[in-house]
């Protein structure tokens, strides 16, 4: 396998931020509200109330699509003419809507008031509203607020804003204690895999943010070591650092290399010898290598372009390039958090075309000129590219599918191998 160790950065390898091309123009991305689609399933006693327009409601419904069969734990308080004209007091209206939800859903323990583009433009103070409602429902429901507007957030940044709003609510960790806090939404099955590995390594206690239930808020303090499971949580990480936590620098746990590097960062912080890490992870690594063989066959030498979307582009490009032998044509990301991407950039092949931001028409011109074997893009662009004979992968699947860790490494590769296999299969 290619580079199970994190190679030290050499001048001939790795990217640095100076090589990034910045682009501005029309962006084909979701706003942060889309994060509600996975967050509301993860935090099972939370409800997300978007204070916005009919567009917000429509976006949520369209992004969630057929994935929702049960009654959703999210809704939109749609602003109407009378709210804007000042005929109705927005705060009273919000109180009424919140009461309606909490009456309908007595099981809800945390209510998020989620700001949107219109609520921000009219400067509706949701922080104040959250404070007022928290007082009103004290002891029963915690009311928090964050903004997921397209003005402020791009797609996965919505999760960052949501988790950041939880930080002040977390209980304090005693100064004498230490713990590991894994930040970023992970499927329960992946969380459990990581818990088993941490336990075997002797790292603990381990907490997750977001928790499965709002009643299980993890503590944070000077003894907290942070591991980010997702690369788009810069604001949350900084807020946790503000509460004394220390961020462990690591690649993200995608693929064998990333997962190993990620675990190593925790092992180092706990003073666990490298040999122990190797022993504990050996069976999972062997399993992952075995299952990656087939996917690597399908992917080696294939050319891939990432359109800027989920913010997962750089770590996944690193995995596909180093562990699956893919050639990176262009890796674009909505924005580049240099601090959080430090370890990842060092692992990208030198000279890769890195783009920050988007002008979608120019970007599509490049895709048409490059004709990569596969393009990772949003749902709005996938079929038009397919119609031009280009294979695509929906980026939204990367946030809905379990893709972290050793046992999902092959599944992650398979997400990209499947469109290629299908392309080769069809004779229609």
């Amino acid at each position: 396998m290619m580079g199970a160790d994190i190679s030290p950065r050499t001048p001939t390898e790795g990217c640095d931020a100076s090589m990034v091309t910045r682009e501005r123009g029309q962006r084909q991305v979701f706003c942060g509200l889309a994060g509600i689609v996975w967050l509301h399933r993860k935090i099972q006693d939370a409800f997300f109330l978007v204070v916005g327009s009919r567009t917000c409601a429509h976006l949520l419904q369209s992004a969630a699509g057929v994935m929702i069969f049960a009654e959703p734990r999210f809704a939109t308080a749609i602003l109407q003419e009378r709210d804007l004209a000042g005929l109705a007091d927005c705060n009273q209206e919000l109180d009424r809507v919140a009461a309606e939800i909490l009456e309908r859903r007595p099981d809800i323990k945390t209510l998020f008031l989620v700001g949107s583009c219109p609520s921000e433009v009219i400067k509706l103070d949701l922080a104040k509203a959250a404070e007022r409602l928290s007082d009103a429902y004290r002891g029963r429901v915690r009311v928090l607020d964050y903004s997921a507007s397209g003005l402020e957030t791009t797609f996965t940044q919505g999760e960052d804003a949501c988790l950041k709003s939880l930080v002040p609510e977390l209980p304090a960790l005693a100064d004498t204690e230490r713990s590991l806090l894994v930040v970023g939404t992970l499927p329960d099955v992946v969380e459990d895999q990581f818990l088993r590995l941490f336990a075997e390594l002797g790292i603990g206690p381990v907490h997750f943010l977001p928790p499965r239930r709002a009643s299980e808020f993890p503590p944070v303090g000077r003894g907290t070591r942070l591991l980010l499971a997702q690369p788009f949580l810069g604001e949350t990480a900084r807020a946790l650092q503000g509460r004394g936590a220390t961020l462990l620098t690591a690649p993200y746990p995608f693929g064998i290399e990333g997962t190993l590097g990620w675990l190593r960062a925790a092992a180092d912080a706990w003073g666990i010898p490298a040999a122990r890490l190797e022993t504990v992870t050996a069976p999972a690594v062997a399993r992952a290598e075995l299952s990656l063989v087939r996917q690597r066959e399908a992917l080696t030498g294939k050319r891939i372009t990432f359109l800027p979307d989920s913010q997962l582009e750089i770590p996944i490009a690193r995995f596909l390039s180093r562990e699956c032998g893919m050639e990176l044509v262009e890796v674009a990301t909505p924005f580049l958090d240099r601090q959080l991407m430090e370890s990842e950039l060092a692992l990208l092949p030198a000279g890769v075309r890195l783009t920050e931001g988007q002008d979608v028409d120019l970007q599509l011109d490049r895709v048409r000129a490059d004709r990569p074997d596969i393009t990772v893009c949003g749902l709005g662009l996938a079929n038009p590219l397919e119609a031009e004979g280009l294979r695509t992968k929906w980026s939204i699947e990367l946030v809905f599918t379990p893709v972290h860790g050793f046992d999902q490494a092959a599944d992650l590769a398979e997400l990209f191998a499947r469109p290629l296999a299908r392309g080769a299969l069809l004779r229609v």
Partner: protein, 530 residues
């Protein structure tokens, strides 16, 4: 503020997008924040379109708000013009842009582009998607044709003798319910009457096609939700009459033919092709007897809901137990229809209210939108989709119109197949004591998921122990069912049991009966059975 879990319609700028995406040579520039581009996926995923909708977004973010959003509008318009070379540019705003008041329409007019630039007013906080589509189509037609309106009093040119009358088909659009196939079916139908289609719009039309609209003798308003304003304006300005009957169902199709005959002044009694559909015979066929009086709940856009109610009652012999629409603009039509069928009209865009009404009416079939499909699934009731909002399943690979005679065939199949067949129903009645063949077992075609829903439909009542007496609280007294009466009630087919229970209790209450016995049950049955 309005609390919304699921919504039937998007905001009005989505309607504008539907018009732009329906046409060729038209480009819409939307002043909208980052994120509003989500709407592209409606077209590329739900409708599986192979091209992006012809829409450019300004994608402004917080950093632009302090700066020059107006400059961003202009550069977006210029870039769209340079790249896509549209022959007409539409300018609109989404909800957020409306608040920052950049007046993108005025900015665009000031740019002096060499093509028509039409500015749209799409009040995002007061109106919705269909209104936006209707308004956009009207503005487009008016904008392109207003300079060609004949002087008042000018005589309309008479059709040359022997020439085939020309009709425009107005209203079919992207993301419309089965528009693609309805256009083919109605074109075929008109052709059989000797009428030629001049222009279909907006679906597939170019700006040049819209300029040819006045050449037609009359307009067919196929989808009033999208085209009634444009039809009205064309009627006023160009003296083109409007055929208003929407040909969904056998009766409506016949009425449509008659109306075309009147408006086009042609004899439609003897058409070139025989007018023929299997549907009337299938409905008269003896096996369809079991369809008689099936309780059906109908909800959708006004046009499809009203059409469905007529088909249900006159052409399939169902009983309409609920009729409603989410389209307030067309509430009047639904209210009138509801009066005809003796039901309370349901005019709401609150999904939860619709769900409550469906549960209350105990229908045996729900005809609705994708929302009602979810409701019906949860309640374990069969459902067929009759109206937008659309879902990927509403764009079938096969030819599946709703309109005309083939449309009636399609409707027969779509509505009847989810139901239990006549013989199946008899078998259930006959073998209801069989442990595997009981009424709690939902029809296999509804899938295993339906079973749970079935139980929750009447919580604790029919699932409760047979030995226990069920007490029903009313304002004045407590009414109770004897265990024998409960047992007897269970022998009534489950799909009418809820009604039987309610009728019996109402009967008992009116007579001050406190204990419902088997006798009471049959007395009530005789009473309500007339």
């Amino acid at each position: 503020m309005q609390l919304t879990l699921w919504s039937y319609e998007g905001p009005p700028h989505i309607g504008a997008m539907r018009i732009a995406a329906s046409m060729e040579g038209v480009h819409l520039v939307l002043h909208a924040p980052q994120g509003d581009t989500y709407a592209d996926l409606l077209f590329t995923m739900i409708e599986r379109r192979g091209q992006r909708p012809p829409v450019s977004y300004t994608s402004f973010q917080a950093r632009e708000l302090g700066g020059d959003t107006a400059g961003l509008v202009k550069s977006t318009i210029q870039a769209a013009f340079d790249r896509f070379a549209p022959r007409v540019i539409l300018i609109g705003e989404s909800c957020t842009a409306e608040l920052i008041q950049d007046q993108p329409g005025a900015l665009a007019q000031g740019m002096g582009l060499p093509v028509p630039v039409l500015s749209l007013e799409l009040p995002a906080y007061a109106r919705k998607e269909n209104w936006g589509a209707n308004e956009t189509f009207y503005q487009l037609v008016r904008g392109l044709l207003k300079s060609r309106v004949p002087a008042p009093g000018a005589e309309r040119e008479l059709r040359k003798t022997g020439a085939r009358p020309l009709a425009n088909l107005l209203g079919p659009s992207a993301l419309g319910f089965r528009c693609r196939d309805d256009v083919v079916e109605v074109t075929r139908l008109l052709d059989s009457l000797g009428v030629e289609v001049n222009v279909v719009a907006p679906l597939g039309a170019t700006p040049e096609d819209l300029l040819r609209l006045p050449e037609a003798d009359f307009n067919v308003c196929l989808y009033p939700e999208l085209a009634d304003q444009a039809c009205l304006w064309l009627e006023r300005m160009f003296g083109q009459r409007t055929v208003k009957t929407v040909p969904i169902g056998i009766g409506a199709t016949r009425d449509f033919i008659a109306e075309v005959g009147r408006v086009a002044d042609i004899d439609v009694s003897a058409t070139r092709e025989p007018i023929w559909s299997r549907m009337p015979w299938y409905s008269r066929s003896v096996d369809s007897t079991y369809l008689t009086g099936k309780r059906v709940f109908i909800f959708g856009d006004a046009t499809h809901a009203v059409a469905a109610a007529r088909i249900a009652t006159e052409e399939l012999g169902f009983t309409v137990v609920g009729l409603g629409t989410y389209a307030r603009e067309f509430a009047r039509e639904v209210r009138e229809a509801a009066k005809r069928y003796g039901v309370e009209p349901l005019i709401t865009d609150d999904y939860l209210e619709v769900e409550a009404k469906v549960a209350e009416a105990h229908p045996e079939l729900v005809l609705g939108t994708q929302m009602e499909r979810h409701i019906a699934k949860r309640l374990g009731i069969p459902c067929a989709v009759i109206s937008a909002p659309v879902h990927i399943q509403d764009f079938p690979a096969r030819y599946a119109p709703q309109m005309g005679f083939e449309g009636a065939n399609v409707i027969f199949d779509t509505w009847v197949h989810p139901l239990m067949m006549g013989l199946e129903e008899h078998l259930i009645t006959m073998f209801r004591e069989d442990f595997e063949f009981h009424d709690g077992a939902t029809p296999s075609h509804l899938g295993p998921g339906a079973r749970a829903g079935q139980a929750s439909q009447e919580p604790s009542r029919d699932t409760g122990s047979a030995a226990a007496e069920t007490a029903v609280g009313t304002d004045e007294n407590i009414m109770a069912w004897t265990s024998e009466a409960e047992q007897e009630l269970k022998k009534i087919p489950f799909f009418v049991r809820g009604k039987a229970r309610r009728n019996t209790e109402r009967f008992a209450q009116e007579r001050g009966i406190l204990t419902i016995t088997v006798e009471t049950l049959y007395d009530a049955k005789a009473h309500f059975g007339r």
